[in-house]
């Protein structure tokens, strides 16, 4: 079979109009450049904002900063005028914007805002004093814009900035002057932020506020939570407690994500559960001087047994899900 449109049409599963339209795509009478043009725009925005930001940073100490800052400010202002002109009123539901560049301009303006913040900090030598403050401010601004203009990319950016700001805030070593070090407490803030994101995502979802944002909240929340838990197992001195917390939480979440058919989250939870459970088992056997031969059998048997278990439940996760 080389033409499935024809097969469907011959079996009366497509109307004549549908068949003709699909054939015009297959025979290349019409070709969509949807992804290509968006990729160009995305690349352009990345290069432009990156270039402007770095250019500004490089030229600190020369003349013309005021001009640069004003220029970036003007760009942001023009961007905002465009955004205000085309934005739809706020709604708790998904908002459809008819203007096709809208989302891109929104991201461009957001990135220029970061550039301007950084420029001002570096220019006035305020990096060390203001870094946490501006990180939180940026996160708050992005969060506001994400909700106001209904944009998931901005929501992801807001959470990313927030995570970084948290990391910085609890790090005693001065991050701004270039000493970056993972401190003993970083995993705790990762766990806490993860839980906060998970709870916020669920609460907002329950209250019907931007339900389509739930995935982003849960995705970042679970990643932060599990990464925090697993780093704690390997880094902290309370490794058994962290391992127990991880096993309990990941098994509970595995159960719920399986029930709700949220397979990406099920994937995260299963990996975390396996790592933490294996760690506990290893530690326990180590403590009672168990036979090391056990481990040679444990890994293949547990993995293959797990596959058999999942495959037997295959009706639960067919391709259509």
């Amino acid at each position: 079979m080389n033409n499935f449109n024809k097969t469907l049409f011959e079996r009366n599963l497509l109307t004549n109009t549908q068949y003709e339209f699909l054939e015009s795509i297959r025979t290349r009478k019409i070709v969509s450049l949807y992804y290509e043009l968006r990729l160009l725009l995305y690349l352009g925005i990345m290069l432009f904002t990156g270039g402007v930001g770095y250019f500004a940073y490089q030229n600190i100490g020369d003349m013309g900063h005021m001009l640069s800052m004003i220029a970036i400010g003007i760009f942001i202002a023009i961007g905002f005028i465009f955004i205000q002109k085309h934005a739809q009123p706020y709604s708790n539901k998904k908002v459809r914007v008819t203007q096709i560049y809208f989302d891109y301009i929104l991201v461009l303006v957001s990135l220029l805002i970061i550039t301007l913040f950084t420029y001002i900090q570096v220019y006035y030598n305020l990096v060390e004093q203001l870094l946490n403050f501006t990180s939180f401010l940026t996160a708050a601004l992005f969060l506001f814009m994400a909700y106001r203009y209904d944009n998931r990319a901005l929501l992801s950016m807001a959470i990313t900035v927030l995570a970084a700001a948290f990391g910085i805030a609890i790090t005693p070593i001065n991050w701004a002057s270039g000493d970056w070090m993972v401190t003993s407490n970083l995993y705790n803030s990762s766990i806490v932020l993860g839980i906060v994101l998970l709870v916020s995502g669920q609460l907002l979802h329950h209250n019907n506020i931007k339900q389509h944002f739930r995935f982003t909240f849960l995705n970042f929340g679970l990643i932060l939570f599990y990464i925090g838990c697993i780093s704690a197992i390997f880094d902290s001195e309370l490794e058994i407690i962290y391992a127990l917390i991880t096993v309990a939480s990941s098994l509970t979440l595995s159960y719920y994500t399986w029930k709700n058919k949220e397979f990406l989250f099920f994937l995260y939870s299963n990996i975390a559960a396996y790592i933490s459970f294996t760690y506990l088992l290893f530690t326990l056997l180590d403590k009672i001087h168990g036979d090391e031969i056990f481990f040679a059998y444990y890994i293949p048997i547990s993995c293959i047994g797990y596959i058999v278990f999942l495959v037997n439940k295959k009706s639960h996760f067919s391709h259509d899900n």
Binding site: L13, Q58, V161, I227, H319
Partner: protein
């Protein structure tokens, strides 16, 4: 003939392909829900092909599980020397492949289930070790063994990763052959001709094997061929390889032989791809053309340094923004058969994952300096601090 080479039943795969394409039509809102239900009823597939996340999970578990089988077996047999272990991996590898084919593919109807892929890779990996062992063979032996095993998996199990590897090994064989007979200088032309022939062969085979089951395979082979033709003629690749492999010493103002020819290739091949893509309305040529243009710009930038790379980046960014906005505006209506609108959803497109990737690449810099585009499967590379001090 074709069907006997493939481990799967071709009719089953066709049904599955129709189902998957129709699901995409439904998701793209081109057919109604009622139609989709009718199609789903008419093309019922018994193949076991789970959704992507479960596939990843099964793949990870199976890769670890199958690989670690050797440990208990090794312990059971004790020290049996290298030949003994090679024999053992041969038996285990063959056993695994037979299990995958007879039990999973034929009986349980697994198709791209994650477990099958893992079994094929691990099984063939064991076979490769059984053939090669720890001995030192002439270099050309490695790509030949790799090629044979990868080609086997690509044809028998229709495995796309193995298909890419097949051509990788083929390129390595050609490279090694030319190096062994001291014809390094002909390498660029050799590659352009051989991958040109592969492209033409692929076009012929596409007519002969015209079946929707093989669509992705042909796209991959064509893409590899077009990219290899470009890479073989790229000035940076030729220059650096000449210095590295032929110990070519280039004087301060000197250059490699035929330098202008390779400059010309670097500049013209991408333009030729885009031109041909627009003329023939071939999206593959347009995509490869865009990619190779980016590579050419980087190449030419290395050798014609105009100073101020950041200015160039900024201007390039501005030009791209303006160009794409102009084109988006121009293609509001269908012109010459091109449109800016989405006709069919890309099967891989997901707004949620796109937002995630965007935040990782656009959200300023990453503290680890390794933007992870593959983070959609969640190994948790986060951390782009927006307002950081790196700018």
């Amino acid at each position: 003939m074709t069907t006997s080479l493939i481990a799967y039943n071709l009719n089953d795969l066709e049904t599955k392909a129709v189902l998957s394409e129709s699901q995409n039509l439904y998701k793209s809102k081109l057919i109604t829900q009622d139609q989709w239900f009718k199609i789903r009823e008419a093309f019922k597939s018994d193949l076991y092909s789970p959704n992507i996340f479960m596939r990843v999970l099964l793949f990870i578990a199976a890769i670890i599980g199958f690989n670690s089988i050797l440990v208990p077996i090794g312990i059971t047999f004790g020290s049996i020397g290298e030949i003994g272990y090679r024999f053992l991996t041969l038996i285990v590898g063959l056993g695994l492949l037979i299990f995958i084919e007879k039990v999973l593919i034929k009986d349980k109807l697994h198709y791209k289930s994650g477990v099958t892929e893992a079994g094929i890779y691990v099984g063939l990996g064991f076979l490769a070790f059984a053939f090669l062992g720890f001995d030192n063979h002439p270099t050309i032996v490695y790509p030949i063994v790799g090629f044979v095993l990868a080609a086997f998996a690509a044809i028998r199990y229709l495995n796309l990763t193995a298909l890419v590897l097949t051509f990788g090994f083929l390129g390595w064989i050609e490279f090694q052959l030319l190096a062994d007979i001291n014809l390094m200088a002909l390498m660029p032309f050799g590659f352009i001709i051989s991958f040109g022939l592969i492209y033409l062969g692929c076009l012929k085979l596409k007519v002969k094997l015209s079946n929707i089951v093989f669509t992705s395979h042909f796209i991959i082979v064509e893409t590899i061929a077009l990219l290899m033709i470009y890479i073989a003629g790229n000035y940076f690749v030729v220059r650096e390889l000449s210095i590295e492999m032929m110990n070519l010493e280039i004087a301060e103002n000197g250059n490699i032989p035929f330098a202008y020819l390779f400059y010309l290739f670097t500049a013209l091949i991408p333009i030729a791809y885009i031109y041909w893509g627009i003329k023939q309305k071939l999206i593959l040529f347009i995509r490869v053309g865009l990619l190779t243009i980016a590579l050419s710009v980087i190449t030419l930038k290395i050798y014609f340094n105009l100073g101020q790379p950041i200015v160039t980046v900024t201007i390039a960014g501005a030009v791209l923004i303006i160009l794409s906005l102009l084109l988006l505006n121009y293609l509001k209506q269908i012109r010459n058969g091109f449109t800016r609108d989405l006709l069919l959803n890309d099967k891989w497109n997901s707004n949620d994952l796109a937002a995630f990737v965007a935040s990782q690449t656009l959200g300023g810099h990453s503290t680890t300096n390794s933007p992870n585009n593959d983070a959609s499967f969640g190994d948790g590379q986060f951390g782009g601090a927006g307002a950081g001090g790196n700018w």
